[in-house]
């Protein structure tokens, strides 16, 4: 059988099968050889390692002829089932210990063999000298059973063989299938070529099976068919497209035969002139007659000039429709010339431009408004290029429209405001209107402040196509604001300075009172003490007059001491931070009434205490208020046989006031304004003792609580003190 004449299909199968068989045989052969080699090496390494460990451990057993220890070491080999025999030989060649110990002595080699290993049928034998240091102590013998491992190799070989047969079968199936990939496309191509040549149908396509050479061959063939078809279709489409375009753009076409003077119109042109087909007789003069009288001469002149100068014919004119309305039309045309250069025909198109004309008029009005504005109105496209620049902008920035238009808008933006400009432009492009105040730079490099409005410019579809920037100079306002800020800062500094001065003064005052409280009281104590000692010393020998002097001295000292205490208290109240706590005023009043008991024990006082509110205030300071006011009430009712002291609450306007009323001696309201001043007293000291500091202290405390205190009194009728505290409201 000559291979040359075998069909392509069969040839392909042969080639594939032969190649796969050779490759598989080589691969599996190498694999099995390598596996066998590795297997031997691994076993040998393992066995050698075990032998070395056993040998290292059995030196002393051999040195000291201890068969028990030897057997014990060998018995450890139970963990390694592949080792079937082991033996330790002494120096003289006799056996010290065997493993397994029940194995008959004769099964082991009678004498130790030479050092090394030997593969035998299904077994590996190893002889290893046992050394302690350099000294030879005996020999170790190991025998490994390789049967289970060899049987695994045989199984492995079997699997490889099976896989090989399977692989060959798959290769056969694959080769049968793959060869189709080559033979089928060729057949298909032949079919298609026949179909095209018979039917002249260029839409037929050969089926493509892949991207190989056959695939690209199919592609080229199909591409060729497609090109033929496309050219055929393009010709027809081009005519159709022209018709559709003219129709869609509402364009009319005309053709003027210069020699015969006949002007031919298409259907649409009739529409543009507001006439029906057949109304127009084709004469150029009739056409001119349809135009606005003012435009006739111009159109005629333009047509003649185009023919004479061989230029384009371009004309805009008004047409009078039969309904008496005027329409703007624009025409454009080219002449065709004969070989001698004489014009033969003028062909062209005509458009209705009425809407555009009207729009242009509206725009010029807007433009006039823009240009007359005092504000700078600048138009930019979406890339920030200046596209319009009004007179206001020229005045404000110093650039003429010529200089500005076409530049980037950064022309008038200082470098430190670039980011701001970019961000504002981005937001405007999203359709937002942006107002902000910023700095701009003039042509002469000077800076000034502007208030800017950025708004999007939209086209008829509502898409943003640009940005309009309206800027107003606000430098004057900014300057004014700056001045106010400076003034404020100065003021603030002055306040800080004052506060510091005040704090210093306060500190001095505190140091002063500290010293006073120590140093002013000490001499008073000494005076009192020595006066008393003097009195004791003199005892019976002192005259009653002298005794009274001493008593006066001592009373004066007591008053002085009281005064010092009161003043210190007043000054302390002026300096403390108040600590607000929820306080029940009734319990404060009860405490004070109890504290004052020694002062009124011998008297008859009718206490009338109403329910009082509970509120956030400094309990210690509020207690001082009640101590002062209640002890005053007790003091000034001293002359009354039956004293009445009322404590209660009263609504005053929108506030709630606490009042303390007594039926004591009262005073003339004429002096009411003096009452709360320091050292101000309305009674003589011999009538009612006191330092004149108590009410000043009370007022200070009430002020600290952001409240008010006032008094109502009548001479001989008693007095009522009212006070309010912040956060005290009618229930």
């Amino acid at each position: 059988m000559n291979l040359r004449n075998v069909p392509i299909k069969r040839k392909l199968v042969y080639v594939i099968m032969l190649t796969s068989t050779v490759v598989l045989l080589l691969t599996s052969g190498t694999l099995i050889t390598y596996e066998l080699f590795t297997f031997h090496r691994t076993i040998l390494q393992n066995a050698a390692t075990i032998a070395q460990i056993i040998a290292a451990n059995s030196t002393s057993a051999l040195s000291f002829d201890n068969e028990k220890v030897g057997a014990e070491i060998l018995s450890k080999l139970e963990a390694e089932p592949s080792i079937v025999m082991a033996c330790l030989y002494k120096k003289d060649g006799s056996k010290l210990a065997r493993y397994p110990s029940e194995q008959p002595r004769s099964d082991f080699p009678a004498k130790p063999g030479t050092e090394g290993h030997r593969f035998e049928k299904n077994a590996l034998q190893i002889f290893l000298p046992v050394r302690e240091g350099d000294a030879w102590q005996g020999t170790l013998f190991l025998k490994l059973d390789l049967t289970p491992m060899y049987s695994r190799v045989v199984l492995y070989g079997g699997i490889v063989g099976g896989v090989m047969i399977g692989a060959l079968l798959i290769a056969l199936a694959l080769s049968n299938w793959l060869q189709k990939g080559i033979s089928e496309p060729i057949l298909e191509l032949a079919e298609t070529a026949k179909s095209v040549s018979v039917n002249k149908n260029y839409l037929v396509r050969a089926r493509k099976y892949g991207t190989d050479e056959l695939g690209s061959f199919t592609d080229s063939f199909n591409h060729m068919l497609m090109q033929i078809h496309d050219r055929d279709a393009a010709l027809r489409q081009s005519e159709e497209r022209l018709r559709l375009t003219l129709e869609a753009s509402e364009t009319g076409t005309w053709d003027w035969d210069v020699q015969t003077g006949f002007l031919e119109w298409d259907d649409f042109l009739y529409k543009l002139f507001g006439r029906k087909r057949g109304d127009f007789d084709g004469r150029f003069e009739t056409f001119l007659g349809y135009l606005h009288p003012e435009d006739r001469a111009a159109v005629s002149r333009l047509a003649n000039r185009a023919l004479a100068e061989k230029t384009d014919f371009v004309a805009e004119y008004r047409v009078l429709w039969p309904d008496k309305s005027y329409h703007y039309l624009a025409s454009r045309g080219n002449a065709l010339y004969d070989e001698r250069g004489k014009a033969v025909r003028l062909l062209g198109v005509t458009l209705d431009v009425t809407e555009a004309k009207e729009a242009a008029e509206g725009l010029s009005l807007l433009a006039a408004i823009v240009s007359s504005s005092d504000d700078a109105i600048v138009g930019k496209d979406l890339f920030g290029t200046i596209v319009s620049w009004n007179v206001g902008a020229e005045r404000m920035f110093g650039y003429t429209a010529e200089e500005a238009i076409g530049s980037k808008s950064t022309l008038i933006v200082p470098q430190d405001r670039y980011d701001e400009e970019v961000q504002a432009l981005q937001r405007v492009q999203q359709g937002k209107i942006e107002h902000f105040e910023t700095r701009r730079v003039r042509k002469d490099g000077s800076f000034f402040f502007v208030s800017i409005t950025f708004s999007p410019i939209r086209n008829a579809e509502g898409a943003t196509i640009g940005v309009s920037a309206n800027s107003r100079d606000i430098s004057d306002r900014i300057r004014a604001e700056e001045e106010i800020r400076t003034l404020n800062a100065e003021l603030e500094e002055r306040v800080i300075q004052r506060t510091a001065e005040l704090a210093a003064t306060n500190q001095e005052l505190e140091a002063f009172t500290y010293s006073v409280s120590h140093d002013l009281r000490a001499p008073l104590r000494h005076i009192d003490a020595f006066a008393q000692l003097l009195e004791d010393e003199l005892k019976e020998t002192i005259s009653s007059g002298n005794r009274r002097y001493i008593e006066r001295i001592r009373r004066g000292v007591q008053n002085m001491g009281q005064l010092v205490d009161d003043l210190l208290n007043l000054s302390r109240v002026g300096r403390v931070e108040i600590a607000r706590d929820e306080t029940d005023l009734n319990s404060v009043v009860e405490e004070v009434v109890a504290d004052l008991k020694p002062e009124y024990e011998s008297r008859e006082i009718n206490w009338s205490i109403e329910a009082l509110p509970s509120l956030k205030c400094d309990p210690g300071l509020i207690k001082q208020v009640f101590i002062n006011l209640l002890s005053n009430a007790v003091k000034y009712t001293r002359t009354r046989p039956k004293a009445v002291i009322e404590i209660g609450q009263k609504r005053v306007g929108r506030e709630l006031a606490i009042f303390i009323r007594d039926n004591g001696v009262g005073f003339n309201m004429k002096y009411a304004d003096k009452l709360f001043g320091v050292f101000q007293r309305l009674h003589r000291a011999e009538d009612f003792e006191g330092t004149g500091v108590g009410l000043a202290t009370v007022q200070r405390i009430i002020q600290l609580h952001e409240g008010r205190i006032w008094v109502e009194a009548e001479l001989d009728k008693g007095a009522t003190f009212y006070f309010t505290l912040k956060g005290m409201h009618p229930l």
Partner: protein, 201 residues
């Protein structure tokens, strides 16, 4: 003489047999004679083994470096008192090098003679002086060996004893530690470890 007389008359074969008998007789006589002379000086087989063991100990024991005068000083095996080894010990040790050191054998009559020594075998003649000998050796890095009864209990490091016809070892680890000697765990593997502390016995 009768035989000789007869030989003159007997055939050649008979003569050959006779010569063979003579030879055998002579060999037997020679063997007996040599054996007898040898036995007089020959070591007991037990001590042949013990000699080898003495040599083996050197391989399983580590001496501190200060136990040697120089880096290449020999390891000295000393015999105190009567010497049961005869030539065997010399034969065993001759030409051997252990831990890069040569081995040397010295014989001491009394404790006072012991200067440079690493392994000391205490002969049976010293049986009654064991305590004083060990006291003198205490804390010196000397591996004391003997087969005297209770040697390890009195502070000796290794004692030979016999069990099941085999020579076995008893080792007193505390004594070894006191002597600053490192005993290989392999040696302990084939020995019975005992303690001086009677409560542990």
């Amino acid at each position: 003489m009768v035989v000789l007389k007869q030989s003159n008359r007997l055939d050649l074969r008979q003569l050959q047999i006779t010569i063979l008998y003579w030879r055998i007789l002579m060999v037997v006589l020679l063997w007996m004679g040599f054996g007898a002379t040898a036995r007089a000086q020959e070591t007991a087989p037990e001590y042949k083994i013990k000699a080898v063991y003495l040599y083996n100990f050197v391989q399983y024991v580590n001496w501190p470096s200060n136990a040697f005068v120089e880096a290449r000083s020999p390891i000295v095996i000393g015999i105190l008192g009567n010497d049961p080894f005869g030539k065997t010990l010399n034969e065993t040790v001759e030409g051997e090098v252990v831990k890069n050191r040569k081995l040397e054998i010295r014989y001491f009559k009394s404790v006072n003679e012991i200067k440079d020594c690493h392994v000391l075998f205490v002969g049976a003649s010293e049986k009654d002086r064991v305590r004083s000998i060990l006291a003198a050796m205490k804390e010196r890095s000397i591996l004391t060996v003997s087969d005297i009864d209770n040697f390890t209990l009195q502070g000796g490091i290794i004692r030979f004893f016999t069990a099941d016809n085999k020579i076995r070892l008893r080792i007193n680890l505390e004594a070894a530690k006191t002597a600053n000697l490192g005993i290989s765990s392999k040696l302990l593997q084939v020995a019975v470890v005992v303690s001086t502390d009677p409560s542990l016995q």
